[in-house]
Amino acid sequence: MTITPTTAGPRVTAERGSGRAIGWIGMPAGIVVLIIVGSLLNDKFLSVSNLTNVLINMSIVGVIVVGMTFVFITRGMADLSVPATVAVGGILVLALQPVMGSIAAGIVGVLVATAAGLLNGFLIGYAGLNPVITTLATGTIVLGIAQAAVGGVIVYGDDKGIQEFLTGRIFGTIPVIVLIFAAIAVIGHLVLSRSVWGRWTYAVGSNPDATRASAVPVRLTRSAAFILTGSLAGFAGVLLGLTLQTARPGIGIGYEFDAITAVVVGGVSLLGGFGSIPRAIGGLLFVQLLTNILVLQGVPTEPQGLIKGGLIAGAVALDVALRRRGGRR
């Protein structure tokens, strides 16, 4: 049997000029437009202190966004156990603080959250379960265990030193927490764009069958994305616990949706194989700037969800439309 050349043409067609331009310039242009609009609407917007506040506000969720980007790129849908792993980090760091000090307690918090990520990774990568329902179930279990460990109450800490360090500024200008977030984002970006792991991550998300045929450990790569998200969410929880010096079980609720929002607005595809950390961070910055402008304009918190929701739906619809025009699906 002879192999006839398919008439379908190349599988991946280059995006047309306009589509590519929107894809590349869209997010930076959007951020610039927001900054211009913001500074026109309110003269407090473009001040150093306001913009620093925006950065501080996005730091903790930003740490989670880095992990969630990996999950999205491996076509792992989303990690819904983030609220649980954040709470695990926050609760454990404060509960163990009196016993072993903040740093060691923080490490334990991250390790336990990583264990939850391992469970997710094993079930999704190796047992092949659906990520949405699996992370939902593990999240319920893990959060329950963390609550049971401290008796289901709010935990308070009393390490003023580390709280001041984290909320303080280096050289009087750069907030420490922003620096931590920046370091994680840069490392995440380098791993994703320069390392073997990063290349595997893209390969697994774009075509799992071909990737498996090329001897790439597909299951390991898919698991790794969830393990990474587990540890980063745990770390975010530790940071949150240490800066607030109080942690209730519901401390992480909403972080999963905030992280998904940022990643999706940044144009990282839920279909996998496409996206980057700078894009996701760009999406996060866009959402945060928009929220900041709304707050400065005196828009109450309640209708902001309406705008956020519209933004998510609009961003994904635009992404889908651009892909279809570019000949990719």
Binding site: L123, T138, I141, G144, G152, T301, E302, P303, G309, A313
Partner: protein
């Protein structure tokens, strides 16, 4: 290893998996019966079912969405919005008018989801996440984040007072919805088409089924059911609150999945969802009776959910026939006899190199 493999391939194991909902239902029923004194009294049973009736009505809508291979995270927000409408519009439209308006709002919410998924081609997970945020924001905006109370608390008795000493009307509505859905899924062409759409919407379209119509329909149905559930919950407590239903979507999906419906679409049943709901009802009743804290209950529910999807995963891809329960039990008894008879021979074989 060989024997483990053989066990997973055996008809006994497949039978266990096929009837896992019934098995776990019986197990939780026995647990509840042994832990809760007077559980067999009809009143206790009726009350424990009344408590999950609202969730059950949402789950009926979610069953259809999951069979179609989609997700709906927005049902909780729709529930709250409809509930607020059912109470808040009472002074203007009267109790019945407000309930009808609330149901229409639920349908409209579903149509928004359908529009996002079918017309704009947004993945249903992200689309309903977006609409979840939007509907919730509308709830908070129109109520100023405060619960609204109805004028006449007696209106709520319509949905909670047991009919003729049996079940409450909302539990009855739930049962009727399950039965109607089961008949629709099993006995009608449209119902079977839905399974085809869920397995592969492209293939379904190729064989002449209007997949997009079905996809739009499932979201409208899910919105309508969430709306109906919202009306009943709000009437029952005579309050519409913007924070109602914050965990409804996730618990509802869990109940449907415990009932054996696949998240990937193409497989599921209405009676399974009834089973999943009853499992949750019995579990909650018995654990609360033992005053086990909520977080321990969460751990138990999570583990059951995880075990069931793992079991389901083990048999996916293996040929499965729908076998009558009696056959499965008979074969299991026979295989038990055979195993004990050939036990020694088996051991020798496994030890041999």
């Amino acid at each position: 290893m060989n024997r483990v493999q053989r066990f997973f391939d055996s008809t006994t194991f497949l039978g266990i998996v096929q009837y896992r909902v019934i098995i776990i239902l019986v197990a939780t029923f026995v647990l509840a019966a042994s832990l809760v004194p007077g559980f067999f009294e009809f009143r206790t049973l009726s009350l424990s079912i009344d408590r999950v009736a609202t969730l059950g009505i949402v789950a009926v809508g979610l069953t259809v969405v999951l069979i179609a291979g989609q997700l709906d995270l927005s049902v909780g927000s729709t529930l709250a919005l409809s509930g607020i409408a059912a109470i808040g519009l009472q002074p203007v439209l009267g109790a019945t008018g407000a309930a009808i308006a609330a149901l229409l709002i639920g349908i409209a919410c579903g149509a928004v989801n359908g529009f996002l998924v079918v017309v704009l081609k947004v993945n249903s997970l992200v689309a309903t996440l977006a609409s979840m945020l939007m509907f919730r924001a509308i709830c908070h905006t129109i109520t100023d984040s405060r619960p609204v109370s109805g004028e006449d608390p007696l209106v709520g008795l319509v949905v909670t007072r047991p009919v003729g000493g049996t079940f409450s009307p909302r539990a009855l509505i739930f049962f009727v919805a399950v039965i109607l859905l089961a008949l629709w899924l099993r006995r009608t062409v449209a119902g079977r088409n839905l399974f085809a759409v869920g397995s592969s919407s492209a293939s379904a379209t190729a064989s002449g089924i209007r997949s997009n119509g079905y996809l739009f329909g499932v979201f409208v149905f899910s919105g309508a059911m969430a709306g109906a559930a919202g009306i009943m919950q709000s009437l029952a407590v005579n309050t519409g609150s913007p924070v109602f239903g914050e965990t409804t979507a996730l618990t509802g999906i869990a109940a449907v999945v415990i009932g054996g419906t696949r998240l990937e679409g193409g497989r599921g049943s209405a009676l399974g969802t009834l089973g999943g709901l009853l499992v949750l009802a019995f579990l909650t009743t018995s654990m609360e009776y033992q005053s086990i804290p909520a977080y321990i209950q969460d751990i138990v529910t999570g583990i059951i959910l995880l075990l069931l999807i793992l079991l389901d995963r083990f048999v996916s891809g293996k040929a499965r026939r729908a076998e009558p329960l009696a056959n499965v039990i008979r074969r299991w008894l026979r295989s038990r006899r055979d195993t004990t008879a050939t036990q020694e021979g088996m051991d020798e074989r496994t030890l041999a190199p």
